[in-house]
């Protein structure tokens, strides 16, 4: 008797997910590549025929190159800042004997439960010319005029560091947790000082977490839309903002596709250089 149990034809279990990912991920991603070589249209998203013009336009435009460079710069600084800020916190959270571990873990996790629009909104309240920080500084007499904290790259970086910090702390924390305390004790009993233990044992063993965190934060910062759009306003545009606007407002699909792919390709190259430089062992998840 034939039944609907998964035992008879187990591949049926995978079928819906496979169809979904092929039809709505793989094919659309190939389609975006094709679109980037299409002729721009007049009043339509694109016209017949193929061209290299969209890529040529990026290479000849100082505006797009400037935005591309600025986006990469923001991504690199954000990644570096989250690493420097998050590393000590991750090491502390990874220790089993921490008293307030549950609470601390909840605080690190909490921003992930609050929508990204709300978190960016919080930063506009803090960083604006009449915002909490500037008002406080002016009232304390520390500055006469509001400091330029918003509508520039600095504001975008501050907000992005906040938004992506959990993505740096959590992978490093789980790498630290898997370090055998006996290794540290052994090193100390052999006369290694605190600095030596950190440099020679803890950091190398936490490296997979550091690499995962850096790549995650870098990729997320490059493709972030909400935070740069809300903090940067009309004055500072990152590539993701330009791309989304080019597609939704001016319907320049081939150009938008070329810009998005260019950003992703450069991002991927930087990730690979980083992985090679830090001798990363590739393992997903």
């Amino acid at each position: 008797m034939q039944t609907a149990s998964p035992g008879n034809r187990p591949y049926l279990l995978l079928l819906p997910a496979a169809i979904l990912l092929i039809v709505f991920m793989a094919i659309p991603y190939l389609n975006i590549l094709v679109t980037s070589f299409r002729n721009p249209g007049q009043g339509t998203p694109y016209a017949d025929g193929y061209t290299l013009m969209n890529y040529a336009r990026i290479f000849s435009s100082p505006l797009y190159q400037g935005q591309l460079f600025n986006t990469l710069w923001i991504g690199i600084v954000t990644t570096f800042a989250t690493l420097v800020i998050g590393l000590p916190v991750a090491f502390q959270l990874g220790r089993a004997d921490l008293r307030w571990r549950g609470l601390a873990y909840g605080i690190v996790l909490s921003p992930l439960l609050v929508g990204i629009v709300i978190r960016s909104y919080g930063w506009t309240i803090l960083l604006g010319n009449n915002g909490v920080i500037n008002r406080t500084l002016i009232n304390l007499g520390l500055t006469e005029y509001p400091l330029p904290l918003m509508y520039n790259s600095l504001g975008i970086i501050i907000a992005l560091v906040h938004v992506f910090l959990p993505f740096m702390i959590l992978p490093i924390m789980s790498a630290v947790q898997s370090i055998d305390p006996a290794v540290v004790s052994a090193a100390r009993s052999l006369g290694a000082g605190r600095a030596t233990v950190i440099r020679r044992i803890l950091l190398p063993l936490a490296m997979p977490g550091i690499q995962a965190g850096c790549i995650l934060v870098f990729v997320l910062s490059l493709s972030a839309y909400v935070t740069p759009a809300m903090i940067g306003g009309l004055r500072v545009k990152t590539m993701a903002v330009t791309v989304v606007d080019a597609l939704l407002d001016t319907f320049q699909w081939p150009l938008g596709a070329a810009l998005a792919l260019m950003l992703s390709a450069i991002g991927a190259v930087i990730v690979m250089i980083f992985a090679r430089a830090t001798r990363m062992k590739w393992k997903v998840g």
């Binding site: 035992g7 187990p10 279990l13 909490s110 709300i118 919080g122 791309v243 989304v244 597609l247 997903v284």
Partner: protein, 260 residues
């Protein structure tokens, strides 16, 4: 002491993490017409304004509906794939894993653009919510897959074998052994799918049809032109609801919510 310094440093970082959220909550009780600091007084007027604002209420209903659909579809498809991955996949294991996690590994903005082009190329367009729903299912799928997979990790194939030798049919074995084992993973995966879908921005932004704005989109559009604390009231309600869902799931249902 170095340990003392590290503690102080960590507390500063925790304050930094909570600060923007606290500011939004604080601003929602401002009685003034605009977001001013220091606040002008305590008032619940912006909560009243929000509850009477049909645009926001409709956005909340849309968000809840999309999150529910994405949760159910991802829950079913993701669970099936996870069961296959753990129990049946052999050589293709790593490929399946990377494919299932791909919506998480690839930039969301690129996925959103490619889906937008695709729904237009096949003639569906954004007149219906189809593209939007597909996008939400794609983004939430990895979370169901990860959670179910990790709950199946302690699965001992001997149990199934033992049941088989005692005469249990395949269906009985699936129902009585596999299903109870993966239940916590399915529940927490679905919970994650719901929470993630509720927050998804870029995909909703690019694939929204007229009248299908989700709450994050509506809030974003509102903040472009409005500076009243009403947006803070909306945000606060959204934060409280999410935190309540997670706390209830953890304490009452005993689920462990984890992402990594």
């Amino acid at each position: 002491m170095a340990r003392q310094a590290l503690n102080i440093y960590s507390v500063i970082i925790y304050i930094f993490l909570l600060l923007p959220i606290a500011v939004v909550v604080g601003a929602s009780f401002n009685s003034g017409e605009f977001l001013t600091f220091p606040p002008q007084g305590f008032s619940l007027r912006w909560y009243v304004a929000f509850l009477n604002n049909e645009v926001f209420m409709r956005a909340i209903r849309t968000s809840l509906w999309i999150a529910a659909v994405a949760m159910v579809v991802s829950g079913i498809i993701g669970t099936m794939a996870a069961v296959y991955y753990v129990n049946y996949a052999a050589r293709s294991k790593e490929t399946i894993r990377i494919a299932m996690l791909s919506p998480l590994l690839l930039p969301e903005v690129l996925t959103a653009i490619s889906l937008l082009f695709f729904v237009y190329a096949v003639g569906i367009g954004t007149t219906t919510m189809f593209g939007l729903l597909v996008g939400h299912v794609l983004i939430t799928l990895p979370f169901v897959f990860m959670n179910v997979t990790s709950s199946l990790e302690g699965y001992d194939p001997d149990w199934s074998m033992a049941a088989q030798s005692l005469g249990a049919s395949r269906w009985t074995r699936f129902r009585r052994i596999t299903l109870p084992l993966i239940k916590p993973g399915v529940f927490s995966g679905c919970l994650f799918a719901f929470v993630i879908s509720f927050d998804v921005f870029t995909i909703s932004f690019m694939l929204k049809s007229i009248g299908s704005s989700t709450l994050p989109i509506q809030l974003f559009d509102y903040l472009k032109t409005n500076y009243t604390p009403e947006a803070a009231a909306v945000s606060t309600v959204s934060i409280v609801v999410t935190i309540l869902v997670v706390i209830i799931s953890e304490k009452v249902l005993g689920l462990r919510v984890h992402r990594f």
